[in-house]
Symmetry: T
Subunit: 160 residues, 12 copies
Amino acid sequence: MTVVKSTIPESARQVTGDALQSTLVDLLGLSLIGKQAHWNLVGPRFRSIHLQLDEVVTAAREFSDTVAERSAALGLPPDGRPETIASAFTLPGPKEGWVRDTEVVGVMVESLEAAIGRLRERITATDEADPVTQDLLITITAELEKQRWMFDAENWPKDS
Amino acid sequence: MTVVKSTIPESARQVTGDALQSTLVDLLGLSLIGKQAHWNLVGPRFRSIHLQLDEVVTAAREFSDTVAERSAALGLPPDGRPETIASAFTLPGPKEGWVRDTEVVGVMVESLEAAIGRLRERITATDEADPVTQDLLITITAELEKQRWMFDAENWPKDS
Amino acid sequence: MTVVKSTIPESARQVTGDALQSTLVDLLGLSLIGKQAHWNLVGPRFRSIHLQLDEVVTAAREFSDTVAERSAALGLPPDGRPETIASAFTLPGPKEGWVRDTEVVGVMVESLEAAIGRLRERITATDEADPVTQDLLITITAELEKQRWMFDAENWPKDS
Amino acid sequence: MTVVKSTIPESARQVTGDALQSTLVDLLGLSLIGKQAHWNLVGPRFRSIHLQLDEVVTAAREFSDTVAERSAALGLPPDGRPETIASAFTLPGPKEGWVRDTEVVGVMVESLEAAIGRLRERITATDEADPVTQDLLITITAELEKQRWMFDAENWPKDS
Amino acid sequence: MTVVKSTIPESARQVTGDALQSTLVDLLGLSLIGKQAHWNLVGPRFRSIHLQLDEVVTAAREFSDTVAERSAALGLPPDGRPETIASAFTLPGPKEGWVRDTEVVGVMVESLEAAIGRLRERITATDEADPVTQDLLITITAELEKQRWMFDAENWPKDS
Amino acid sequence: MTVVKSTIPESARQVTGDALQSTLVDLLGLSLIGKQAHWNLVGPRFRSIHLQLDEVVTAAREFSDTVAERSAALGLPPDGRPETIASAFTLPGPKEGWVRDTEVVGVMVESLEAAIGRLRERITATDEADPVTQDLLITITAELEKQRWMFDAENWPKDS
Amino acid sequence: MTVVKSTIPESARQVTGDALQSTLVDLLGLSLIGKQAHWNLVGPRFRSIHLQLDEVVTAAREFSDTVAERSAALGLPPDGRPETIASAFTLPGPKEGWVRDTEVVGVMVESLEAAIGRLRERITATDEADPVTQDLLITITAELEKQRWMFDAENWPKDS
Amino acid sequence: MTVVKSTIPESARQVTGDALQSTLVDLLGLSLIGKQAHWNLVGPRFRSIHLQLDEVVTAAREFSDTVAERSAALGLPPDGRPETIASAFTLPGPKEGWVRDTEVVGVMVESLEAAIGRLRERITATDEADPVTQDLLITITAELEKQRWMFDAENWPKDS
Amino acid sequence: MTVVKSTIPESARQVTGDALQSTLVDLLGLSLIGKQAHWNLVGPRFRSIHLQLDEVVTAAREFSDTVAERSAALGLPPDGRPETIASAFTLPGPKEGWVRDTEVVGVMVESLEAAIGRLRERITATDEADPVTQDLLITITAELEKQRWMFDAENWPKDS
Amino acid sequence: MTVVKSTIPESARQVTGDALQSTLVDLLGLSLIGKQAHWNLVGPRFRSIHLQLDEVVTAAREFSDTVAERSAALGLPPDGRPETIASAFTLPGPKEGWVRDTEVVGVMVESLEAAIGRLRERITATDEADPVTQDLLITITAELEKQRWMFDAENWPKDS
Amino acid sequence: MTVVKSTIPESARQVTGDALQSTLVDLLGLSLIGKQAHWNLVGPRFRSIHLQLDEVVTAAREFSDTVAERSAALGLPPDGRPETIASAFTLPGPKEGWVRDTEVVGVMVESLEAAIGRLRERITATDEADPVTQDLLITITAELEKQRWMFDAENWPKDS
Amino acid sequence: MTVVKSTIPESARQVTGDALQSTLVDLLGLSLIGKQAHWNLVGPRFRSIHLQLDEVVTAAREFSDTVAERSAALGLPPDGRPETIASAFTLPGPKEGWVRDTEVVGVMVESLEAAIGRLRERITATDEADPVTQDLLITITAELEKQRWMFDAENWPKDS
């Protein structure tokens, strides 16, 4: 017996559900590694990067809530438990302990870039299945691409 | 060579650092399982519990930031990476998939109770080592005890 | 002689206009039956559902304004007069007089579900005709699906 | 068996209930025709009248909520369903399609004037029955008379 | 020698003063028993009722201030001391210790109903004596009747 | 030919119009003498009275606007021109030049008392003619009686 | 014996005091005639001009307070009593009763223009005497010239 | 069977519960006598003391809520019913009727001083039993000592 | 060597970059001509159109920022320098000097219409290349079409 | 025939008009090059300079509005069209494409310095002609000098 | 080598720098003695003067920031170090320990008066050197003269 | 004769008073040197450090007020006069004139570290004497340790 009924057909539910669940994991993971870098950052650009990382965390937290609630709205229970994130999250993040500012900027560019690549695949995948979900993924991509640019612009010249 | 210098003596740093690191894990874990329950909740009290869980999540997120920054302030780099939480978090949480409201209330009472028990031990442990950290742990305990009471009051009679 | 000129070609105007006009009627109707339930509700979940219904009403009112103004922007005068709503509105709503909370939850799930089904058809229909209108319909669908989920989650187990 | 008990005697309930129910219909109807005019207005005074109509709509919506909740508070379930408004609403409103600004101003003066006349009768009718309801009707009359004046002042000279 | 002079004639002062003083006691008493229930409530509707009670308390506190200051404005010193409330307050309230949610809803319906009955008598009594005071009592009655309805609607079916 | 039409019958218009016009003059006059005292006050209670006078001015200005717009709403053009106020205003006010704080308190008590006496007569006069206007006069009286009390309480013992 | 001492020399006080006192009268008068026009306005531009007049009134009231307090700060008690304004105010204003919008626009242009001319003379007069007062008069002139322009721009073509 | 479970051991519960219950009574009593003085105050310092008393009332109300909820959180149902306050409240307060400002200042100094003395005893008593409760009592003491100082500073020279 | 890396393939970058750069020029140009009209407007509808133009300017400025940052986010440096706007901006705008209100309304309808036509082409062009950019262009089109409608509705009858 | 009349004599109008028109061009140009740098900036100080540039843009936009409206207020239509800015703007700005942070800081120091030099000449020029305009130019200079200092302080040591 | 370059000529820099540096010392000193009086005040006007002193402190702190940043903007490093204030500050202030309210009022009148006298000399001194700095000094003088008046008005009769 | 009475015993007053007075001097001194550095800072990190210093100043000012008022609340008049700060303040601060950003960061780490060391001694010293004061010192230490960490993190690698 169905708990929460879906408003999209059976055929569309699998691809949409996968897209939302993996986006949820990426966003929760990003919010955790963003905070990790926010706390362990050292170097002359400490304050600038410290504040910028909180913007990534705020965006990631808000989008994770929207993504999970969208999944529930489609009758697909989202999974954001600690063990799920730890096993499913694959984006690069800062190593343990203090991290130099240049290093943090580099790892955020990489991590956001990987997240964006995965989101773009899901935008294509959900095009037929559910345009409502696709529209949400497009919105998230726009924000993460903006964040990625700002870290990348900060990262120049590459060897500084 | 020290990266960030500590303002408390060597002898006090170990116990304070342990108290803060394990509190950080408990709070980050609570914020994740609180959201998990927030999304997967079903039952006639859905809206009430859905909103109440967000208050737990908000408190847990804000305290986790204060706790991690206090650790950094003492020269001890905090660790809130996904893999750390997954391996170190031991409080009970909701199972995968949809969860009935009565069940959520029950698991939150248990989880908060366990967190409080652990915090009270750390309050005792840090009494000598660092009264500033102790004061923060007292503040967190007050809030979690208030949250626990509200779920417990909601949980009566036990078999409803 | 044209009063307000359209910025989309003649061929696209009919389908877009129909989609917007019928969405307008659905939203104005939803705002009226949402308030009707908000006022006539009785039962132990009175306060929770009373507040939740106002969120539906607020969303329906705001979207109805956007939809009607989009219709006007395309040179198509929208029709939201009492007699038009009464004759064109077909979604289920609460019966006259006091209504039990369980009943209200059930009728809102049904009514929102019917509205969503109709919106999804219009999303498909406007895909070629006007992507700007389609984008608006997608946004409305996302919100109504979220509202529907929350009533459905509240509606469990079905016989409670 | 009574669902919601009344705090006024049986004798007073009929006249008070009638006054509230017909006021509710007038206000909900006004909110719908106010929006209809807001969307379909054309002419050199578009922006001024467009904004002024929204003030009427806002007032009508807020008062309709207060009136309906007052009815419920007296144990009389209010009726604001689409079919009720369509059949019971008798105030003049704008015709279908685009409407010239001068015409809108004229129809709003007429419609508000009719509403005020009906409210003044109900103020007299409820004087004995329920001074609390009467006080609410007085407040609504004050606001609608203010709105009517502003449209009437805008309407001068009559043939402009 | 008069301390604060009255702006109403001697003949009107007694009835107005009595109406205000007894209303003051009822409102201060309501604010205390509302908080008592707010704190001692248990049961599955804990959060809903807990929040609703605070709305009663807020209203009762604000009105008590207006009522007492109106009494002072008429040259009649109001009396809201603990011993006065304890001896003069006669409305029903929750018993000592934890109280079940259904019981709280019931006692609030009764207590508000008794307060309303007493206010309606004072509205009649002050009609001649002081229309300004009467208008204040009408405003308070409207709010308490609204609060009473919401608890009564929540109280259905009576045996739930 | 009528410019702005009245919604009350011919017979009621004279008494209502007179009540509103003379109230308008009293309020505009009060706002001017309140500011005069606010600026010319000297004495150890300067700051307290300086701030309190601004509350009288704010109230008088807001009520004057409501009163004048109510008059216009009834088709009776209000008159608040400088020469009208100067010739029609009869309440006592501060003399020219610096004024001692005790003196200001005394003159405000007198001036507000006179204004209240006149308002109470108009409340009686408009009872039949227009309950909407009467309700506004009651509201103004409540506020001015509150202000009068506060100056009178400040004025004790009379010879201090 | 001096009540409030002046911080500018005897020689400068006369010219500065005259400039401030006559500016005070102009501003209080402008605030009264602005409101008079705000209430008695009729014509198709009612709403636009009605709102614009309130901006003049707000500016005039705020500046009148600053001007009067500046006068007091220089040890010169300002005079803003009703009789003073009536006898000293010389700027043109609206006639009694309803006034057509075109006429209001015209009279506001004239009245502001006259006020500006007088202010520019006082700017010159206070140049030597008190640069602090001069700076205030410059600020007021900037605002009144802006208001005058907006009415003048609205007044085109002159015969419309 | 326990309704709300305690998170502190049996041995600590008695002393903590007593400290919280008697603090609750003191704070609710203070909020009532603070308002009593706020309303019945007369004398040249009326406005200053009137406003200052509201700060005491606001603080007392907020702390009473925190104290009562802390008691509930420890499984100890708080008691703030009118009869409890009347019988248990022992701090000095203003007598019935109008009270001179100097007298109010004196009684507030005494009443706050007595409250502080009792709080300091409870701070010592709860040191072992519950550091979380102790921390709350410390916070309350800081605020009441600040309020006491301000009344005491106002009270100088004693015979003024 | 690349400065800011792109997250879309080489093939998609040209069409997306062109769409964004030409939209940037259109929006910056619109913000400049909107302000030009805002300042140089004359005629009886001055205030209405003056305020409406600022809404166009605000929208154009905010969208220009989003568009330029989106271009940067894709690794394509945007160009909004004065000389670029002057040479690339092709939409119609107001002539030099004072402009009559009817003329301003007409030119804004034309200018917005031209901008919309160009945006709709870019929506089609970017459909394959970058759905994220397309979504942004859709949002901008919706707003400009709304603005265009309001000027067009104001523009009726065409010869007024 | 004059459209908007001037309140300063013919002789003063030319110099004042020139000062305002050239200031308008400088400010609009600064707002465009500030945004250009805001978008195209790269380097380790990206975030700091990115945010600081927006403060320049905000100030330049607000002052450009005040300057243009002051010009209109003096009867002199301001010119801020794209072609005017492009031909009349002479301050240095960033080159096309990405720009290194050090370079941006340098060019902003130069550009603001040039703008300040020109403003100081206009302050002298308008001293006799119009002290109101002069006062506005002084205010703008103060803000631009503050901005210039902050970029200059950031620019040290010059070769970093 | 110059660190921050000046935008005024060498000749003007000395007098402007001296004016700003001595104003900075006066303002920082005023903020310290204002707080000293705020804390140590006793007497029946405690609350009034306590709050008024904080307005002086707030103004002095904000102006000190503007003055110091203006100095930096002119290439002249400001000096606000503790030892500088202590040695250069010459205005009268409260003595050590508790201070009676009458005494505080007196000393604030004297201290502000001395500060104003010094500011007026600097206004004259900077007239040629830098009108931007002069304008800032005029603004500060206006505020301090307003504060001085309010203490002086409070100080009447002198022997009270 | 005592002016403000103390609520702690004679024996505890000396140590508590010393702790508060020396903390007051440290905080007022920190607020002055923080501003000094805020104004005189140069170097590529200007904006970041400029803003961060203002957070130190804000915290230092707010805590200084709380500390001084706590001292007064205990009957001990605080001393924050310029000469007291100059002679008693011993923490390191920036030298006169422009200071390089790296140098400022270094001196702030040192100064905050010294302040923290002194605070920790006072926390120990007041443990017995006054837990309320101790709690305040703990709160201040937490904030200063957070500020110190952020400057220290910014200070890495030490030789950058």
